[in-house]
Amino acid sequence: MLAAPVSTHALPAIVDQVFILFKDWLVSFLPTSWRPAAGVVLGVIAIVCVFPALFALTTVFERKGLGRMQNRYGPNRVGPYGLFQPIADGVKSLTKEDVVPLNADVMVHFLAPLTLVVTVFMGFAVLPMGRNMALVSLDAGLLFFFSMSAATELSVFMAGWSSRNKYSLLGAMRAVAQMISYEVPLLLSSVAVVMISGSLSLPKIVEAQSGYTGVFPHWYIFTPWGLASFLVFAIAATAETNRSPFDLPEGESEIVAGYHTEYSGFKFALFFLAEYLAMFSISGIGVTLFLGGWSAPLSFLNVVPSWFWFFSKVMLSIFVFIWMRGTLPRLRQDQLMNFAWKFVLPFTLLNLGVTALWRFMGEGWARWVVCSVILVGVYVLMGRVGMFKKHFGPRSYRYAE
């Protein structure tokens, strides 16, 4: 399973493949016929351990980071620098009473958080987290990933519907409307990558970006169409994971907590876990499609193991998610829909055309100029048209004061 080492040194190659070698070593104790299944089980165990651990770390760093953005300390009481906060939170959510509303559809209410977590975990199966480190390398990995992330909508609606609570249902309706609206640009922006790389297989997409010009990598984000796709993808991914500023489905100030209003204790913790896992998986796919997956940002940094680069990029994008949450206020439902259908979708469709142009113009500087001019021009034009006759500025009050 060991790939050809990228470096002339043997040690970096071993460190790069350390998890794969460890897995192979563990599996070698079993009879040959059991080995493939056991390998998959080990991979699943690794994923199920690593990402919830990252989730625990992320919750405390998110709270500390948000605090710093608002000139506060954030949690700093439990353990050194408040690092044991997730343990305290975990104990709390485990020992809390599990309240199920009297009129709730008990079965669906029980199943919703489980199906949500399971479908979110399924997405990790196809992510290449390092060289040779995809659990299953499907030929249509991208398709599998998006079908799994689309299945989360069902769980959200199950939760909202079965709770028999107006806030839950409102939140679920909002969530479904939002997720379906942003699913379209999410898919179409990744179609651009498929058009260029010619593959739906995620490891192949990473391979396609792993070359270097001088020291600089051939990541798709460094092309005009790739940057545009990436921006659209980032916006749609934020909406897809219900993160601020697109956190309408769980807008605390309007609808309590949206679809998980009626969940408490461990079921609520599962929703919380699923939200963060969805962030990790969508960041992972974004990194794979646009930021070169596990490849190093500069050619000489290939000495550092590939899995380190993948997780660094994912955590960087998580930081950007947190940063946006600390900055932006929540959108209104009409703004959300207008933005999706009147700006993001047309721009994505145009970008598909530009990608095709890029593909058929061939090598040379001409395609850089033409594609950039089209994209920037249309972006500015659409922004102008969209903001035409809208008065942005300090709010004036008619009746107050």
């Binding site: 980071g65 710093r68 608002q70 000139n71 600390g326 900055t327 932006l328 922004g383 969209g386």
Partner: protein
């Protein structure tokens, strides 16, 4: 241009994020149990009973008149009047509270007891760390727990305590003056009483 405002906002939060690690002035949070802000003079939490002198039982200003008990809107005060009397700050014999309980789980910190007290005996405390694991006994304060010295009162509300002391001193002086006048009058009366029967005696014998 579209998206400009978002970038401006992101720059602002990034400035805060980095700045909060560099400059301590940005972090205005007071780390409570370790650091404290001194309480404000006008702060008030629950009432306490003022006493003068070293002994709380002897120096208690309260005379168990029960006005505060009657005026208390949520009825959180319970007073039992004593059977005997003890001298108050001017030396006049007065009743004292044999029991004085305040249920601080009922008290709404309205300060009406303080307003109505004619003896400057009940004042508002600034002590707020009253959490307890016994929600019945722990929140029912008896007279010993409520008794706090006049020095403590000066410490938490200096201006108000100064005014109160001036008023009490004036009252004490007035009482002393009155006592003096009364004493003089009494002495005079005693003198006249003593001399009166003696004065008419000689002419009585001489004239008749």
């Amino acid at each position: 241009m579209l998206g400009e405002g978002i970038l401006k906002g992101m720059a602002e939060t990034a400035k805060n994020f980095a700045g909060s690690f560099v400059s301590a002035d940005r972090l205005t949070t007071v780390q409570y149990p370790e650091q404290r802000i001194p309480t404000f003079e006008n702060a008030r939490v629950f009432p306490f009973l003022v006493y003068d002198g070293p002994d709380w039982a002897a120096g208690m200003r309260c005379v168990a008149c029960q006005i505060c008990e009657k005026e208390c809107p949520p009825k959180c005060i319970y007073i039992e009047k004593s059977r005997d009397k003890k001298p108050d700050f001017v030396g006049k014999p007065q009743f004292y509270p044999a029991r004085f309980d305040i249920d601080i789980s009922v008290c709404m910190s309205c300060q009406i007891c303080v307003e109505v007290c004619p003896f400057e005996a009940i004042k508002m405390d600034t002590e707020f760390e009253l959490a307890t694991d016994d929600r019945f006994r722990g929140l029912l304060l008896d007279r010993q727990q409520l008794a706090k010295s006049n020095e403590y009162y000066h410490q938490i509300h200096p201006t108000e305590a100064g005014e109160v002391d001036a008023r009490l001193d004036a009252e004490k002086a007035a009482a002393a003056a009155k006592a003096k006048v009364a004493a003089q009058a009494a002495a005079k009366a005693a003198e006249t009483a003593k001399t009166a029967p003696a004065k008419p005696a000689p002419p009585a014998g001489g004239e008749d």
